[in-house]
Structures are given as structure tokens and as C-alpha cells.
């Protein structure tokens, strides 16, 4: 798909446009010097030796009830959504 997506589509926000204020921040980054020797000091990756157990933990009954309470539209305990396949 070569179609260029605009920021309103990318953001799912009607009529969204680029902000001049934000563009000013980006200009500073574009004009900044990069250093190819900068060691990657900010590492948030998790070691594979330290992964949590791959098991399913069931939510409590109350947690499930609240999740259903939070449904914007509910019918017989199920979440109602708009038709998904449409294009």
C-alpha cells in the first residue's frame, strides 16, 4: 500500500493537523548533531533469563465484572461493537 497516510488518519482524530509548536521542537532535533559513538545507555529490554513464567493467570470474578461494567455498550453480557468488516 503506497497511499500516504495523513496525521488525522494515523491518529484517528478528525481534522487533526500538524502543530507549529511541535514542529519547532522537531526542528531542534533535525538540526542537532548526532554521535555515532554514543553507547546505548538506556536499555529497558528484559533479559531472556529473567522472563516471567508463561502461564495464564485468571482475573478474579470481581475484576471480570468491573471489565463488563466498563463496556460502553453491552448486550447479554457481551460487548457490542460496530461491524468490523466494512471495506
Amino acid at each position: 500500500m503506497s497511499k500516504m497516510m495523513t496525521v488525522d488518519i494515523l491518529s484517528s482524530i478528525k481534522g487533526a493537523k500538524e502543530s507549529e509548536t511541535v514542529n519547532q521542537l522537531f526542528k531542534v532535533i533535525i538540526n542537532a548533531d548526532t554521535n555515532s559513538n554514543a553507547a546505548n545507555n538506556v536499555v529497558n529490554a528484559v533479559s531472556i533469563d529473567d522472563l516471567r513464567e508463561d502461564i495464564v493467570i485468571n482475573s478474579s470474578k470481581r475484576e471480570k465484572e468491573i471489565i463488563i461494567e466498563n463496556f460502553p455498550k453491552e448486550k447479554n453480557g457481551y460487548l457490542v461493537v460496530a461491524k468490523v468488516i466494512e471495506e
Binding site: D8, S12, I13, A16, K17, V22, V28, E63
Partner: protein, 454 residues
């Protein structure tokens, strides 16, 4: 706790103060559960049972933390009726220690702001002068502590959101090393710098609450195990020989003369105590602010993409699914949140990501490298919290660029993931004390020393 006042009476007093306050600090009160918990503490005291340090202590929670059965709105229209299904790890640890949550506190919507004006609950008013902003994004939390409505509050700090409101309201606020406290149950803004931290009236209270919340959590795999910080360990400052400060923070045109002069006077007092002070070079403020906002916008655009009104939130039906998404998001996000989401999607899109996002990551690495180099030369870095005193309510909303630039002194330490404490002394908006990664104890130690010295 002093046995002369019952826990129930203490909690009721605080609830009354919160209810009648005019600073817009409250999103919702947790009156019934707080009084129930207080009664249980009183029964324990009556029976002569031992109670813990935090047992019966009333506290506040920034309204971005999950606490089961309470509304967690992020001060937004989108989640104004959202009920927490579970409880954040940090908050659960405080509950387990017996602390009593009183209030979900007003803040900038999704943490997007530095003044707590970007909220559906009305701008938070400064504790000292109600014409001024409370700071942000944890403004309600800092004001509640400053006004004694809560004994401590739990804020969230992504680029300064604990430290700046603490400075604006003359209280202590601590952003620990990234990963010291679990983020599980904190609504994500920018995951790589989001930190949970306490706001309180003393370093001792900060220490106690920090200890209670710290530790590895399997639900947040960026957490690391940490040792308890003892009361005795932070009393002796002998290990701190050298302090540094950034020349360009102080020689900047943006800093007020009042803050500059009081900061330099503080440096003189530290020198007079026999501690060596080194002047350090650092990145320009506009580079720090732009790097932080670039990465934070990219992360928040990604994190908030889940908020589309499908499973929860204030859904507004459109003609079809995509229309429903976009109307829901257009109508329910604030202008500031939309600005950040759109900016984030713009910089992550094809053609921009190499030029902006990857370059931003490179700058972040350079900033972190700079810190690593600095901490080979100094034990602590000292800086002002903000270049200026708090603005009047309404000013920040008119000039978002000025608001972003006001974060110049806090965002660098977030990018470096360093432990940083605001202490309400030394300048009109306090001082920041920063240590190397995982040196949270050293930061508290120096805070005690400064507290006694200034």
C-alpha cells in the same frame, strides 16, 4: 501514630478538608472505604496490637493509578466514568502496609501538562498563592500535601511531574531511579521514563513511602530488586565529597535573577561545609526539551492508541467502526493530548522516523553518556527545579512552547532515568538533588544534609 487522636477522627478531618477545599485538587473522594479502614486500625490500637509505620496514615493518589472499585479518570472526558478493575502494584503495597487512600487527585489529563490546567476538573490552584498554577502534572497531589489535606501523596513523574509541582508548592517530591517502583497499574504516558514516586513534607516520610513501594514486580519487567534504605544510613553525609552543577542551566537567559542568585548562594554554603563543587557542561535546554518531548510524544501516541471507546471509555457512535474511533477520540481528548498524539504519529511516520525519532534516541544516548561521565567526577548533581516561579493560571494554556521550555531542568534527569529529589529549599521553587542510577539512598542522604545546612 499519636494515640491521642483516633484514626477515624484523623481520616474524617482530612476528608472534611478535602471536601471543602477550593484548590480543585479532588477528582473523587474515597470516603466510605477510608472510614472503614480507619475503624479497623482503631480496633487494632484498642486491642493493643502492634501497628506498622504506615498503618492508618491517610494518603492521596494521582488519578492515573488503578485502585480497584474507584474511578480512574486521568482527568479526561474519555475516562470520566472508567472504574478500575484492579489495583496498581505500588498502591497495593501501601494498602498492605495499612495506609489509607482518601482521594483520587486532579492532574493534567494523561500527564500531558506542566500546570494541572489541562483537566476536566478545573485548574489546580497553587497552595501558596491561588492565582498561580499548582504545577504539573501531579499538581493536585502536591497541593494536597502542602495544604496538609493528605500526609503524603503518590504522584507520577515522566518529565518532571512530581518534582516541578513539589517545587511550586514547597514540599518534597521524589522521582526514584527508573524501575525501582513497579509501573503496573499506572496509566502509561511515556513508558521509558514513567516513574512512580512520593510527595511528602519530609525526607523521612519520603524514605518510608519509597521503601514500602520499591521492589521487583513480575508485572513490570523493567523493575529491579532494591535494598531497604534505613533511617540511620541517610544521616551520615561523609561519603559525599563532590557536588556538581550545570553551567548552562545557571548562565541561561531563561533563568530568573532571583532563582539564579539563590542557587549560587546555596552553592557557596555547600562549599563552606568543605564539599568540593565542580562546574559541569551539559546539553542546551532546547535540545533537552526537544529530545524529551519527541520521545514522549512518540510513546504517548502509541500508548494512547488503545483509547478508542471500544472496550471502555466514553464511546461516541459514528457511522462505522473507523468513524466511531475518530469521533470518540476527537471529542474526548483535550487539545494538549491531541497535540502530543498527532506529534507522536507524525514523527513515527514514514519519512520522519529516521530524521526525528531515531535521532532523538541517539541524543538520549548522548545525554545518558554525559551523565555517566559526570558521575565519575561528582557524587551528586544539584540544579534548580525550574527557571522561573509558577505562572498565573491561564498563561501556560496560551503558550504551549513556553510550557514545554519550563521543563528544561527536569527532563534531562528523566531521560537519564536518574533518581532526583525536589527539596523545598535553596530557591523559590526548590532544588533538585540527582544521583547516579540506583543511588537513591545517596540522594536522600544529601537531602538531609541540605535540609540541615540551608
Amino acid at each position: 501514630m499519636n494515640k491521642e487522636i483516633s484514626c477515624t477522627k484523623l481520616v474524617q478531618e482530612k476528608l472534611d478538608l478535602l471536601k471543602s477545599n477550593t484548590h480543585n485538587t479532588v477528582n473523587s473522594l474515597l470516603e466510605d472505604t477510608a472510614l472503614d479502614l480507619a475503624k479497623k486500625v482503631d480496633e487494632k490500637i484498642k486491642k493493643g496490637q502492634e501497628i506498622g509505620l504506615l498503618e492508618g496514615i491517610p494518603f492521596g493518589i494521582k488519578d492515573v493509578y488503578m485502585l480497584q472499585e474507584t474511578y480512574t479518570t486521568a482527568s479526561s472526558d474519555l475516562l470520566k466514568n472508567y472504574k478500575s478493575a484492579y489495583t496498581a502494584t505500588a498502591i497495593q503495597k501501601l494498602l498492605d502496609a495499612g495506609a489509607i487512600p482518601l482521594v483520587k487527585e486532579n492532574c493534567d489529563s494523561f500527564g500531558h501538562g506542566s500546570s494541572s490546567e489541562n483537566t476536566i476538573f478545573g485548574a489546580v490552584k497553587n497552595a501558596v498563592n491561588s492565582d498561580l498554577v499548582g504545577g504539573g502534572s501531579s499538581g493536585g497531589s502536591a497541593v494536597n500535601v502542602a495544604k496538609n489535606y493528605t500526609i503524603f501523596s503518590i504522584g507520577g513523574d515522566t518529565g518532571g511531574s512530581i518534582r516541578q509541582p513539589a517545587g511550586y508548592n514547597n514540599v518534597f517530591g521524589f522521582k526514584p531511579t527508573y524501575g525501582r517502583i513497579s509501573r503496573f497499574g499506572l496509566m502509561a504516558y511515556a513508558s521509558s521514563t514513567d516513574c512512580v514516586g512520593p510527595i511528602a513534607k519530609s525526607t523521612e516520610d519520603i524514605r518510608i513511602v519509597l521503601n514500602a513501594m520499591s521492589g521487583k514486580d513480575v508485572k513490570d519487567q523493567t523493575t529491579y530488586p532494591s535494598e531497604i534504605i534505613s533511617k540511620e544510613s541517610i544521616l551520615n553525609v561523609d561519603t559525599i565529597k563532590t557536588v556538581g552543577y550545570f553551567k548552562n542551566f545557571i548562565e541561561s537567559d531563561a533563568i530568573s535573577s532571583e532563582i539564579k542568585e539563590s542557587f549560587l548562594a546555596t552553592i557557596d554554603k555547600i562549599k563552606a561545609k568543605g564539599i568540593e563543587v565542580k562546574i559541569l557542561d551539559f546539553f542546551e535546554s532546547d535540545t533537552l526539551v526537544s529530545t524529551y518531548y519527541t520521545l514522549a510524544m512518540a510513546e504517548t501516541a502509541s500508548n494512547l492508541s488503545r483509547l478508542d471507546g471500544t472496550n471502555y471509555g466514553n464511546r461516541i457512535e459514528g457511522e462505522n467502526l473507523k468513524d466511531t474511533y475518530s469521533i470518540t477520540r476527537s471529542e474526548n481528548f483535550s487539545e494538549e493530548s491531541k497535540r502530543r498524539i498527532v506529534g507522536g504519529n507524525q514523527l513515527l511516520s514514514q519519512g520522519f522516523s529516521d530524521e526525528i525519532y531515531l535521532k532523538g534516541l541517539n541524543l538520549r544516548d548522548q545525554i545518558a553518556n554525559n551523565f555517566e561521565k559526570d558521575f565519575k567526577e561528582v557524587d551528586i548533581i544539584l540544579s534548580p527545579v525550574t527557571p522561573n516561579t509558577p505562572p498565573k493560571i491561564g498563561e501556560s494554556l496560551k503558550n504551549p512552547l513556553a510550557m514545554y521550555l519550563s521543563d528544561a531542568y527536569t527532563v534531562g534527569f528523566s531521560l537519564g532515568q536518574l533518581p532526583t529529589l525536589t527539596i523545598p529549599k535553596g530557591t523559590a521553587t526548590g532544588l533538585q538533588i540527582t544521583g547516579a542510577k540506583t543511588q537513591d539512598e545517596l540522594v536522600l542522604k544529601f537531602a538531609n544534609f541540605l535540609n540541615d545546612t540551608l
